[in-house]
């Protein structure tokens, strides 16, 4: 990429005008179904980002609904993202990606379907960036700026392909990198609890969810639990996303399965192994998608398909230290 087009960037005033038209301080009940929220908020060709990080607290229930509705030609910002965007890519719905980290699942190994999509030309990487760089692109957007400065990665090919610009810092008189603000069309974020208006609490690590939620045009929140108004009113210091930035709220218990939601449930290693084995061939991917996603009517049907309450309760026990951690799944070769 050269710098002639910067994906996701807007003049801050355009975004101010957008917010005036589309966001509201009226306390409306925004609770809806995943099916409705996804079909209203996610459009063909949208630029989409995911909350959580790596394989932790990812909005997978919402991702699976996008796959069920086959909403394609998506551009994804892979800000330290893994299974969420990789399974969308495996389903053939991603045509472009801005990459800080992608194509792998840390110690579990490289993600073949997303890799081969790029190597075979079915998906295009349109820019590179670092994890801090992506964070600070969203920080710029949240702060209403057109860029955010950094000293990271100056002089690298990573920044050459990032759409950022090097200038001379007028104070130090040394080079500094300006990262373009990034305003995604859609942010999908999975949280521990929300009220019906969209106020959200996240336990533990917030990754860059506060920034992406303030940066995106449409914010779809899935929550482990929707609680009475009084619960969040009693603990406002724990509320990380305020209602006025959120567009749709969906209750999705175990909405990050097979990944972890800290303090709630652990990784489903057995299911991960099923996916890793399936991911080795295109046929395996198709069978997996058919069985668990296309072949399930909604998130609750999916939860039954992966083993239901018996499996889910065990994942809670593992996270809470009641049950031992099972063997960690890894990519293996077909026998």
């Amino acid at each position: 990429m050269t710098n002639e087009t910067i994906t996701g960037w807007l003049h801050p005033d355009e975004m101010r005008a957008y917010r005036q038209r589309h966001k509201s301080f009226a306390k409306r009940d925004k609770v809806t179904t995943l099916k409705e929220a996804v079909s209203r908020g996610v459009k063909e060709g949208d630029y989409i980002v995911f909350g959580g990080m790596g394989s932790v607290r990812n909005p997978l229930a919402a991702v699976y609904e996008i796959i069920r509705q086959r909403i394609g030609r998506l551009t994804v910002g892979t800000k330290g993202s893994q299974h969420d965007w990789q399974i969308l890519a495996a389903a053939g719905l991603v045509s472009e990606a801005e990459v800080s980290y992608g194509f792998a699942d840390e110690v579990r190994g490289l993600a073949r379907p997303a890799r081969s999509a790029v190597e075979e030309g079915r998906m295009k990487v349109i820019s590179e960036i670092t994890n801090a760089g992506f964070q600070w692109r969203f920080t710029a957007a949240m702060k209403g700026l057109s860029f955010y400065p950094t000293r990271s990665a100056l002089g690298t090919d990573t920044l050459h392909y990032s759409g950022s610009k090097t200038i001379i810092d007028p104070f130090t008189e040394e080079p500094v990198e300006l990262l373009p603000a990034c305003y995604p069309d859609v942010a999908l974020i999975h949280v521990h609890r929300a009220d019906r208006y969209g106020n959200c609490q996240i336990d533990g690590n917030v990754a860059e969810d506060i920034e992406i939620a303030h940066a995106a045009k449409f914010v779809l929140v899935t929550a482990e639990e929707i609680v009475r108004d009084e619960v969040l009113e009693a603990t406002p210091a724990l509320t990380k996303l305020p209602y006025f930035i959120v567009d749709a709220v969906v209750e999705a218990p175990f909405g990050a399965h097979p990944n972890q939601t800290p303090g709630a449930y652990s990784f489903d290693e057995a299911h991960w192994q099923t996916w890793l084995d399936a991911s080795l061939t295109d046929e395996g991917v198709e069978e997996y998608l058919q069985q668990y996603i296309y072949g399930t009517t909604d998130h609750y049907d999916y939860l039954e398909k992966i083993g239901g309450l018996r499996v889910l309760r065990q994942l809670q026990h593992i996270e809470n230290g009641v049950a031992p951690y099972p063997q960690v799944s890894k990519r293996r070769e077909v026998k």
Binding site: G80, V118, E119, R151, T158, N205, E208, P262
Partner: protein, 259 residues
């Protein structure tokens, strides 16, 4: 003499223990999962009980007791820890100079410690697509000293990278500063199955400092596509002690990393 003969250390175990030894007590280290995490927790549990582990997911100071984290953002990264914040918080810590050590790996490295974790082949039409920078280029730019852990062969130790993902010394002394990176930062050690390398003060070229037992300077040269500089006296790395090896194996009983 112990009655139970300790099974000999593998090359991977020797590399991790050498990395652990490189981390002084009461410093902060930026860790990723896999070998860096094993090295850091090993240091924490043996010679560096005051080592502060910082994860890019936001966890600071976690001291896991059972299994090790398999993800840089999972709850174990702040178990028994100091705080948990955001990507912004921990990356800002690094940019402001709070983090002394950072770990990196790569598919390719050149003589100045520049790393490629993005593509093999042309970026526009890659032969092999790799994960990208992730936090790698941030760590390489912002931490004081980076320790690179990777196996060495002629395809990995290359004359010219296919893609410069994370900065080493670019092509010589003073270039990091010219580019605008923080002063007094850069690659500190490269640890491979053959030995431990540093970077020459004057030339910033990768220089062999130590060899693992059984390897020679010629082995190091044969496994590199660029000429290996050699320190005036190359020493042999002390074999892992029984205590070091036992501590390491206890950290990965399921052989997730120690395959």
């Amino acid at each position: 003499m112990t009655t139970i003969q300790q099974q000999r250390a593998t090359e991977t175990e020797k590399m991790i223990i050498a990395a652990s030894r490189a981390l002084p007590n009461d410093t902060a280290v930026y860790v990723g999962t896999g070998m860096p995490l094993l090295a850091s927790v090993h240091a924490l549990k043996t010679h560096a009980p005051g080592l502060l582990l910082v994860y890019e997911g936001g966890g600071v100071g976690g001291r896991p007791q059972g299994r090790l984290p398999i993800q840089v953002s999972e709850s174990l990264t702040y178990e028994r820890g100091v705080t948990v914040g955001s990507m912004d918080y921990v990356m800002s810590l690094a940019q402001a100079g709070w983090i002394q050590y950072g770990f990196l790996g790569g598919a390719q490295i050149d003589r100045y410690g520049n790393l490629n974790t993005t593509v093999i082949g042309d970026w526009h039409k890659p032969k092999v697509r790799l994960p990208g920078s992730g936090g790698g280029a941030d760590i390489a730019s912002l931490c004081e000293k980076t320790v690179i852990l990777m196996r060495q062969d002629r395809r990995k130790f290359v004359e010219t990278l296919d893609f410069l993902t994370s900065p080493g010394y670019f092509d010589g002394p003073g270039v990091r500063e010219e580019k605008g990176l923080p002063r007094d930062t850069g690659p500190y050690r490269v640890i491979t199955q053959i030995g431990v390398y540093g970077f020459d003060e004057e030339t910033k070229k990768m220089t062999l400092l130590q060899l693992f037992d059984g390897f020679t300077v010629e082995d190091a040269q044969r496994a590199s596509s660029f000429p290996i500089e050699v320190a005036s006296s190359v020493t042999t790395i002390e074999e892992p002690t029984d205590e070091e090896l036992t501590a390491l194996r206890a950290l990965d009983p399921d052989h997730i990393v120690l395959t």
